[in-house]
């Protein structure tokens, strides 16, 4: 009988002793940690050297850090155009289809190529053979995403970037030379040079940007965040983040509803401090002196939200009686510069500088009023569609309505018509339309003035600023508005020239006014409430005439307004082409109106400068054109 063999012990993957088990688990954890560390180090690639880089320094930690604790606020910020004010260029952030784009301007041919998800620009003198193309420059940064987008290319100087001198107009899906995206004289060359982004745009289009001059026009620029992010308004968050890693501290704040003193919150500030948070960018500001400028260039400002002044910078306020001396001094120093930013009474006239208007408003004097009285940066509803709608103007709920003013002027709520002398449902009973009319300009359109004021015919005579009445009642002369303001509000009737009694102010200004007045009137002619109040039928020939304006921005506005009129929806016209082509397009548009849109039974009014059949009153038309104010207008948006 064979001797029984011992049963072989099965090999066991898992040790049978507790010590062995612990060892296996520890080794597995170790391997996992090493793999994680390797992957993480590969993830954190070296920063790009051919463009400004993201490098949060000092108190700053960047918006990425805020997300986990403030998901709702992060979501609203993420949906905002503040975030996309500056972006690193990639196929997701570039809005236009750029590959293969060929475009000529400034006596240069530009060609855009795409390779491996990157876009490159090559240039050569206009009409030169292909061999003359320069080395490619990569498109690395983008400015804007709402109305326009501008691309910035690498230069041969490290992190210094150079402008691709065209703007992409988002709504029109068209590329235009940069000179055609501002209200500037037609003879102007491209407004930005190499390094301009590093030294100028960076001041407001990023968070905590540091230009850092290496030498001459070479920069070693870094930013805390591309775009305007959390810390622009809430101050650097390093301490806030560190101290709030302690959950007991967080829960103490949650449960006692106590504001966290380690972070700024504009919603908890008084009116002036809260407004200055927005005003640090949305204002016409100057450096205090050359040293302050250099400090800002190297380290950015030490301004923190909540401060009542900007330390290295200041916002001149030339508006109001008490600012008469400052206004006079500014005009004496550089009248042309003044006129390109302000009306002569000191009211700001360009968009993006709303703080100047807000702080000059009577509402602001009370100390509680601020930008956040009407706007909100973090809406309660963070649903994607709601955020998209909110992002257009960042207004709080109901603030598109009269409720914005009635929240303080409660006594007017019961009988609006008694104050406005317009039916309650009329656009003439909208507080905004009379007290914040579209008398500012920027981004190729009329923009509401943020200096809350009452319509005044006197100001129109003295300053050339359109009043709210005539911006809506385009068919009426100035004297009509003056009479209404006298009758309803007891305003004095100013001395006016003959034309102001006989000719519609809009018709007069579109022929005789300066470029800014022509732009505002052209824009108003496309504004639905004005078209309803003024009868749109007489607007066609004026807008068609403006398709020939010497200022590209005015031509664009006229084209957009013309498109808003019946029969011209989607009307094709290129406002960037040369004079001959513009004249041809204008003649074609006029012919279309005369043959297709003009109502032969309609009697056109004499005061609109048209004869009863709709043709121009030729002698008056030519006289006003001869009298046109041809001063160079260069609105400093």
């Amino acid at each position: 009988m064979p001797e029984p063999q011992p049963t072989p012990k099965p090999s066991r993957f898992f040790p049978s002793t507790w010590a062995g088990r612990c060892a296996v688990i520890s080794i597995a954890w170790g391997v996992l940690m090493i793999v994680g560390w390797v992957l993480n180090s590969q993830w954190n690639q070296e920063p790009a050297t051919n463009r400004p880089t993201k490098n949060p320094v000092g108190d700053y930690v960047s918006a990425d850090t805020c997300r986990s604790c403030h998901p709702g606020n992060y979501a609203s910020w993420h949906a905002s155009y503040h975030r996309t004010m500056t972006q690193v260029a990639n196929p997701e952030t570039i809005l236009a289809e750029m590959a293969g784009l060929e475009i000529t301007a400034f006596e240069t041919d530009y060609l855009v190529l795409e390779q491996d998800g990157k876009h490159y620009v090559r240039t050569k003198p206009e009409g030169a053979p292909e061999a003359k193309f320069t080395d490619p420059q990569e498109i690395v940064l983008l400015t804007g995403s709402h109305n326009m987008q501008i691309c910035w290319m690498t230069s041969n100087d490290g992190r210094t970037v150079e402008m691709f001198p065209f703007a992409y107009i988002v709504a029109e899906d068209m590329w235009v030379p940069m000179t055609h995206s501002f209200l500037i004289p037609p003879e102007h060359i491209t407004p930005y040079s190499k390094g301009e982004w590093n030294i100028s745009c960076i001041n407001c289009h990023v968070t905590k940007g540091r230009s850092r001059i290496v030498e001459g026009e070479t920069f070693d620029t870094d930013v805390s965040d591309f775009g305007i992010s959390c810390e622009s308004c809430h101050s650097g968050g390093r301490e806030h983040v560190a101290i709030n890693r302690d959950p007991s501290r967080r829960f103490k704040l949650h449960l006692t509803d106590t504001p966290d003193q380690t972070i700024a919150n504009p919603a908890d500030m008084n009116g002036p401090a809260s407004s200055l948070v927005c005003g640090q960018c949305h204002s016409i500001w100057n450096f205090n002196n050359a040293d302050a400028h250099m400090e800002f260039v190297n380290e950015n400002s030490d301004f923190k939200p909540g401060h009542t002044e900007m330390k290295l910078r200041h916002v001149p306020q030339p508006s109001g009686d008490e600012a008469e001396q400052e206004r006079a001094a500014m005009i004496a120093k550089d009248a042309e510069h003044f006129d390109n930013s302000y009306w002569r009474d000191g009211m700001v006239r360009v968009t993006g500088r709303e703080y100047n208007g807000v702080t000059a408003s009577p509402c602001f004097k009370g100390g509680d009023f601020s930008c956040l009285s009407c706007h909100e940066m973090h809406p309660a509803n963070t649903e994607a569609t709601a955020l998209k709608q909110w992002a257009k103007n960042q207004l709080a709920p109901d603030m598109m309505t009269n409720q914005s003013c009635l929240q303080c002027h409660e006594n007017m709520a019961a009988n609006i018509s008694a104050h406005t002398n317009h039916p309650t449902t009329s656009s003439g009973s909208s507080c905004y339309n009379c007290h914040m009319p579209h008398s500012s300009f920027g981004l190729l359109r009329g923009v509401r003035s943020h200096q809350v004021a009452s319509p005044s015919a006197i100001e129109t005579v003295e300053l050339g600023r359109p009043n709210a009445c005539n911006l809506c009642h385009l068919d009426q002369p100035l004297a009509w508005a003056a009479a209404k303001l006298h009758e309803w509000y007891g305003q004095e009737i100013p001395a006016m020239e003959k034309d102001d009694h006989e000719i519609s102010l809009a018709a007069k200004w579109i022929l005789k006014g300066d470029a800014a007045q022509r732009a505002l009137i052209s824009w108003s002619m496309g504004w639905a409430p004005a078209q309803r109040a003024s009868d749109h039928r007489w607007l066609y020939p004026f807008l068609i005439f403006e398709l020939n304006d010497p200022y590209p921005a005015v031509r664009f506005v006229a084209w957009k307004s013309l498109q808003s009129l019946p029969g011209y929806t989607g009307y094709k016209y290129d406002y960037t082409v040369n004079d001959d082509l513009q004249k041809e397009a204008s003649a074609r548009a006029y012919q279309k109106w005369w043959q297709e849109q003009r109502d032969p039974r309609h009697t056109y009014q004499w005061k609109t400068l048209l004869q009863p059949n709709g043709t121009f009153r030729q002698s008056e038309y030519e006289r006003l054109l001869r009298e046109r104010d041809n001063r160079k207008v260069n609105l400093l948006e």
């Binding site: 049978s16 986990s68 403030h70 998901p71 709702g72 606020n73 949650h254 509803n381 649903e383």
Partner: protein
């Protein structure tokens, strides 16, 4: 009732309950309920999802425990160990669930403190169960 039955009964009822919670969450998705889906409810969504996932998984753990107790000779759980697993598999997902009802931006509500309590009970229970099972297998 013996230990095996207790775990089986608890497991199946918990499975039913937390699967029902899953259906409720899908319904919230289906009707796009902002209270659950909006960006500012991020932490609520996370808490509820964790409650559903942990509750379901721990229900299966209890079923597995009940079956193991039945099929492995000599394997038993002391009363306190069994209770630790039963209560831990309830307290932990309920901590997630209640923690998601009231939230503070990126933080869950205070009820989330039930989660570590449940986790410790489960760690204790499963460690003891593993030890007991090892002993039972060795002696078999």
């Amino acid at each position: 009732m013996n230990t095996s039955y207790r775990h089986l009964r608890h497991g199946w009822w918990a499975l039913f309950s937390f699967l029902t919670l899953g259906v409720v969450l899908e319904t919230l998705h289906g009707f796009k309920i902002g209270w659950y889906l909006d960006a500012d409810a991020d932490i609520r969504r996370l808490m509820f999802t964790l409650a559903h996932a942990h509750g379901t998984l721990l229900a299966l753990v209890n079923i597995a425990a009940g079956v193991t107790l039945k099929v492995v000779d000599g394997f038993d759980l002391e009363k306190n160990v069994s209770r630790a697993i039963l209560w831990g598999s309830l307290v932990l997902p309920i901590g997630f669930l209640l923690g998601g009802v009231v939230i503070h931006e990126g933080d869950p509500g205070l009820a989330v403190l039930l989660v570590p309590v449940g986790a410790f009970m489960l760690l204790y229970g499963t460690a003891c169960a593993a030890r007991n099972l090892s002993k039972a297998l060795k002696s078999a």
